[in-house]
Symmetry: C2
Subunit: 325 residues, 2 copies
Amino acid sequence: MVLTMKKRVVGIDIGGTFTKFGLVAENGELTHEGAIPTDKYPKIKDFLEELYKQMQKLIEKEAFDIVGVGVGAPNGNFYSGKIEFAPNLPWKGSVDLGGLLKKHFSVPVIVTNDANAAALGELIYGGGKGMKHFIMITLGTGLGSGFVVDGKLVYGHDGFAGELGHTVVVPEGRQCACGKQGCLETYVSASGIKRTMYKMIASEIEDSELRNVSFHDLDAKMISEAAKKGDPLALKAFDYTGKMLGLKLADAVAHTSPEAIFLFGGLSCAGDLIFAPTRKYMEHYLLPIYRNKIKLLPSALQDKNIAVLGAGALIWNELNNRGRQ
Amino acid sequence: MVLTMKKRVVGIDIGGTFTKFGLVAENGELTHEGAIPTDKYPKIKDFLEELYKQMQKLIEKEAFDIVGVGVGAPNGNFYSGKIEFAPNLPWKGSVDLGGLLKKHFSVPVIVTNDANAAALGELIYGGGKGMKHFIMITLGTGLGSGFVVDGKLVYGHDGFAGELGHTVVVPEGRQCACGKQGCLETYVSASGIKRTMYKMIASEIEDSELRNVSFHDLDAKMISEAAKKGDPLALKAFDYTGKMLGLKLADAVAHTSPEAIFLFGGLSCAGDLIFAPTRKYMEHYLLPIYRNKIKLLPSALQDKNIAVLGAGALIWNELNNRGRQ
């Protein structure tokens, strides 16, 4: 009797604080999930050794046929397999993560930007199934994005396409960690809405319970909870956040004419607090021929680990020849 | 003896004032060019009759095998073959131009946006040959654009992708003919730089020969000539125009990560007057990973009728299976 081992892809999502991983089946089933702290390993070698060790622990009881490794990482480059100058990761310069993983696993390895991986997750396993054109926005500490055009992720000439978070929404506006000013993610993200809340507190006179909270203590969830209770300044902060996002989504629509835009994570969990103003301002800034056509939707994978799932999808997508040509 | 007729595509470029046409050979040779005034025919039927008559006159002496008709037109929709609600054309609402032309010619007809046709012309016959990712900007009375991703034009979900001219560069800024405010083409186009020149005259105190010219008399060429002679306000107008364009090109780069951006027509003929500030501000607003990578180039078809050529390329591209899949 011949036993057929179950085929699985290792999905890895590298974030500034944590690196999450798991095994992804072709149908999107995600098992054997684990995590290690990214920022405790200043050397990539030590990081990978710990990653392999933790994976081994989780997986050892079962035998799987690992058919590939997919990685989503900040500044991950699809073409080179490298992580290039990621400001939030401990490894500086250009790190050949793809090459290192390939040596260890001896299977195909694909690396891409974390938000691109999320977009692929949405395409293969989420609300983007069957869509040819959509935009994925991931709202966390920053703002990530991925573009699907003609059913495929857009990587562009150098592999860094789909980067909405660092388009300029206010020229010479807020200082961004990337070195520029006025980037969208300085307005639309967990840290962005916190800055907006502070701006509202400074510029308006309405009272707010958040006037008692220091900048360091304030987080996006507190603003969302205050807004739900009708706090006028928190509501204004959401309206302004939606305005900035709606303005740039209108641009993105004019560029690629998507069927839908998906919002995932953090701020998007605030529901109508963020969806309503975003939709209102997007429609306002859209060219009339695009109005009332574009679906603005929450990710269908909102409660899943979309980045690990998407990292797994990178490989399944390629194996099924649905990848780039 | 069997005579093989030469294969040609009819290329048609419909503009608000003139409609130009010609025969396009597969190698890009453009012959039998002609034009009729668009705005003299309030009825599409009369317009087409005149178009057919003029074409017949030009072509009658030679026998060609017409293999298709390609059309570039404002708001021309690749998917439907229709011109939809084009503000600058005499025919209101939705006009089934593709259907009407097909009836007459009995060959494949493809309709698209005029700037998309120009982008295809650049891809097949111009500086975009061999490139997989670039952006085409056509500067005329307005600002048109087309995106090439993975070697193909991006049409998007509803056929209207690649519309940079109506992305918002200054929220609640200059009134645009499209009904919105602050659209890029109200700043970057022949009419846009004219408005900027007037703004400079009003806000600055330096003298300028253009202070003697009325708004109706002023045109972009006069501003370009004054700038070449060192007129400080005309130079400022070009700098500001380049700033607005550079800002939005930086956005476009972040969306699709192109290898190059081509500028065609009108303002782009002013050379360094427009290229230098556009490049400077684009680099300023670009995320560091994109800097010093993107070629900003004049169209290689600057002296050709790129829109007719591109309209012809629509058909050749499709016949050669290089079209969309």
